[in-house]
Symmetry: C2
Subunit: 241 residues, 2 copies
Amino acid sequence: MTYCVGLLLNEGMVLLSDTRTNAGFDNIAIYKKMFTFEEPGERVVAILTAGSLSVTQTTIARLKEAIHDPDATEDSSILKAPTMLKVAEIIGNMLAQVRLDIDEKLSAMKQSASASMIVAGQRRGGEMRMFLIYPEGNFIEATEDTPFLQIGEHKYGKPILDRVVKPETSLADAQKAVLLSMDSTLRSNLSVGMPLDLAVIERDGCRIASRRRIEAGDENFRAMSEAWSRALREGFSQIRI
Amino acid sequence: MTYCVGLLLNEGMVLLSDTRTNAGFDNIAIYKKMFTFEEPGERVVAILTAGSLSVTQTTIARLKEAIHDPDATEDSSILKAPTMLKVAEIIGNMLAQVRLDIDEKLSAMKQSASASMIVAGQRRGGEMRMFLIYPEGNFIEATEDTPFLQIGEHKYGKPILDRVVKPETSLADAQKAVLLSMDSTLRSNLSVGMPLDLAVIERDGCRIASRRRIEAGDENFRAMSEAWSRALREGFSQIRI
């Protein structure tokens, strides 16, 4: 499984993904689930993926091919698309097509494959936008009322986001919130695993402002995780019922 | 949906269930999901239910019929069964039978019905035991390593339990833990709803030591929920990344 989360805030966007992929419990591997595309200052697109690796890898590979195709058009390349809505449509259509292709192959084995994605980005002159793309290719968008989107094992880490994330949350607090949301998920579900990929896109920057891989032994992450456990235990001990 | 949780601790057992039942999003009702059976001082059995209401109600109704049947035997009545393991077997068999009956009726509509249960109890001279009974009638048991069991929407409320519940947790802290676990679930998932039923069984008491219904407007629950939110926000604000 997977856990990916994206926040759409007044100051920018924060994205976090894990890297664990498993085929059964005995075949676990590390695969990147965050893909970024940019012409710095002009446009930036980040994609987070969850679901069948064969579907997500093929979708990303075809999106890259379309970008590098010398005949690429506004309708085929996510770096040529005139709006973020068009970017979401291109990715949604590609995902749906790949899923159908692979589903057809798998149907002989009575299996099926599925995947979903979070797409976040901005074009110069446009708004920052963030979409959750469903396996069928349709999508929903993050709004002021719901400034975060999650894919994969989303339930363990939702309570902390519900409580602390608002559009006016700072980018520093937002990174803390997604890391703590991931920390709760990592503790409660073995199928989500380190290392993590964390990226920040600042409003109107149209570039990846920072990108960081957090490895399994990361000292800062461990300290944050322990501080949070301590804060929860202290908070818990002070509550009266 | 539903959220029910049971803790098996050195001092006793704590059980909590919500009461929301829905057939679709537009048909929501309140149904009790906690059922207790006791001969105080001799034996106590508590059952928490999740899943299709037609399955759980019929199963509970038949278990009650078997208790009141003048010809009840050790193999049919959960208040005559010689051990808690036997109680779990009786309930598991009944649940599997009812589910099969109802599944057969529903198969004409290409639907299916399922349910699971938590069973907790003690017989005088025996140990406290707690089981999670699957729709097929098989079951697992809470142990020292995993002193809690959950059914229904269990993911939102698992992180807090993972962090604070141990066999040596006091009954007071245990009640706080299950209520906070429920609070996280209520906030993040509309299909789980107030009022709540909370019960405590003390070790070797072989009776329901306390049982409380917490209504939607309950002042103590609201205060606890707000104190927890405050503690989380304060903890959050103090963490450095």
